[in-house]
Amino acid sequence: MTPLRRLLLSLAVVALAQTAVLAGMVADRTQLLRAGREIVLPVVPVDPRDLFRGEYVRLGYDIGRVPTRLLDGPAPARNAAFYVVLERKADGAWSPVKVSAAMPAETSPERIVLKGRTMHGGPFDDGGGTAWVRYGIESYFVPEGRGLELEKLARDRRISTLVAVDSGGNAAIKGLLIDGQLQYEKPLF
């Protein structure tokens, strides 16, 4: 092989490998959004002072506060992912019923497993009785100029998110619902 061909091949391998990583990220996400099970979670207001940073919305959820007594088995390590089992109550709202460090097997249609981490990577149980959990669905980018409007709606508790969840418990926001109507559904690409 000539040096030039060897060089071109090496560079192509580098570019292809890096492209593959990026494409893998996109594919993973689109697969989750396309095929994941859908649940609707009402948004609760978070600290209004930094609810919006530009067009970047912070979203709070009732399921973000998990009682530590729900922990089943050993406590998860710091910053390690753990699994929160949600159950649909009679009024249709999802609420946490169990937490475990390993992926639990749940087959009931009234239950769904979400992968979460503690809010700042701290210990699951810091003695306060409540773990603050993030599921990767706590921020959302909205079109320019819509921030303030959504802020008001969030304060009035009129927003919900449509969330896709895959079999590994990974969650992604599919869209925002205002008064139950789907308003911001993002295209996959």
């Binding site: 560079l11 570019a15 492209t19 996400r29 390690a80 992912a81 690409f189």
Partner: protein, 372 residues
């Protein structure tokens, strides 16, 4: 004029005057020195700086909103830029513009990292953020090995260090996963025979190793760091010639071992008590005295070894460590002047005795040399 050339010129004048080097020889040596070109031309420095700035431009693009484009258009833009950088690398290498080609590789690595962040932002990925840094580092390592590219390898070590600091900051664990990734990058530096890369490898390992004591066993296991650094320094001192036959690195290894061991004892003496008890602890304790004595002995032995092996870097590091140690002891005993003065008196006596012993040894050795 480079530092090396300056030094040789000075010695050459002396050797010529002594008649050891003839006029023809001296002229030939000077011509050879003048013909040497510095590897750091202004063009290559500017090209690398340009690549770094380009990287910052790409990264700050993350913060800006780019709503005008569809997701697909954004992905296409990112990938086109990425491939453009590596395409430019091929073109520049083909035209033998090595420095510019290296800058293009570095720009490609920067665009790759920016793309990871942008895609994570576009799709609201919020998994474990340090993982993104690891993916970036591995992409940089691949470019470093295949192109091959020293700047990309340097970027790999920086990214690996950022990765371990980030991961530990969140997880508060030892982060053993750092070691295989580091070993792969260090092996690449060794394979390339790139000395600055090996120094970067050592520095990246130090970033991981020095705080390790906080993260393993009882979370105050800094003695492990002292042992690791001490072992490296002792290995460099005892197996020096054997190491240097493969790679002339024993002098540097000694320096890094010294720095690691000193960082460990320094944490044990002056930082860990604050972490543990929220204050410096009692002014004097047997533990501190023992550790201080050990540190001073270690530093004096290092200085002696550095002088014997003409290891200038180790000598200056040991001097600096000595100054830090004395400053630490002074601050710790501040407010208790009697204790402070007692300490300095004891230290002064010990150092003076050692100086006397060294002088006697030297005197005994000198006549033997004269006789031989």
């Amino acid at each position: 004029m480079s530092w090396y050339r300056h030094k040789v010129e000075r010695d050459l004048a002396r050797w010529q005057a002594a008649g050891w080097v003839g006029d023809a020889g001296a002229a030939a040596i000077r011509a050879e020195l003048a013909a040497r070109r510095s590897p750091f031309g202004i063009a290559s420095v500017l090209a690398i700086l340009g690549a770094v700035l380009f990287g910052f431009a790409a990264i700050s693009f993350v913060a800006s909103n780019w709503w005008a484009m569809s997701k697909l258009a954004r992905l296409a833009l990112l990938l086109a830029t990425l491939w453009g950088c590596y395409g430019a690398t091929a073109l520049l290498l083909h035209r033998r513009l090595e420095a510019f080609a290296q800058a293009a590789v570095l720009a490609g690595v920067a665009v790759y990292g920016a793309s990871i962040m942008l895609i994570a932002q576009m799709y609201h990925m919020e998994g474990n953020p340090p993982d993104a840094v690891l993916y970036w580092a591995l992409g940089a390592l691949l470019a470093a090995v295949l192109v091959p590219s020293n700047p990309a390898l340097a970027a790999t070590f920086v990214l690996l260090a950022v990765w371990t600091v980030y991961e530990r900051g969140l997880g508060q664990h030892a982060h053993w996963a750092f070691l295989p990734a580091w070993a792969a990058a260090a092996a690449a530096a060794g394979w390339r025979g790139w000395r600055p890369g090996l120094h970067l490898a050592a520095l990246a390992l130090l970033v991981w190793l020095v705080p390790l004591g906080y993260l393993v066993l009882d979370r105050h296991a800094h003695w492990l760091v002292v042992l690791a650094g001490g072992a490296a320094a002792v290995a460099a001192a005892t197996a020096g010639p054997a190491i240097d036959r493969r790679l002339p690195a024993s002098a540097a290894l000694f320096c890094y071992g010294l720095v690691t061991a000193f960082a460990g004892v320094y944490i044990l003496q002056f930082i860990d008590p604050i972490v543990r008890y929220g204050r410096l602890g009692e002014v004097w304790s047997w533990r501190l005295m023992l550790l201080a004595a050990l540190t001073l002995a270690m530093l004096l032995a290092s200085m002696a070894w550095a002088l014997r092996t003409s290891n200038r870097a180790a000598l200056w590091l040991a001097y600096a460590a000595f100054a830090l140690e004395v400053l630490g002891l002074y601050l710790k005993t501040f407010g208790s002047l009697l204790n402070t003065s007692l300490f300095f008196l004891v230290a002064a006596v010990i150092v003076s005795l050692l100086a006397w012993a060294a002088y006697r040894l030297h005197r005994r050795a000198a006549p033997a040399e004269a006789a031989a």
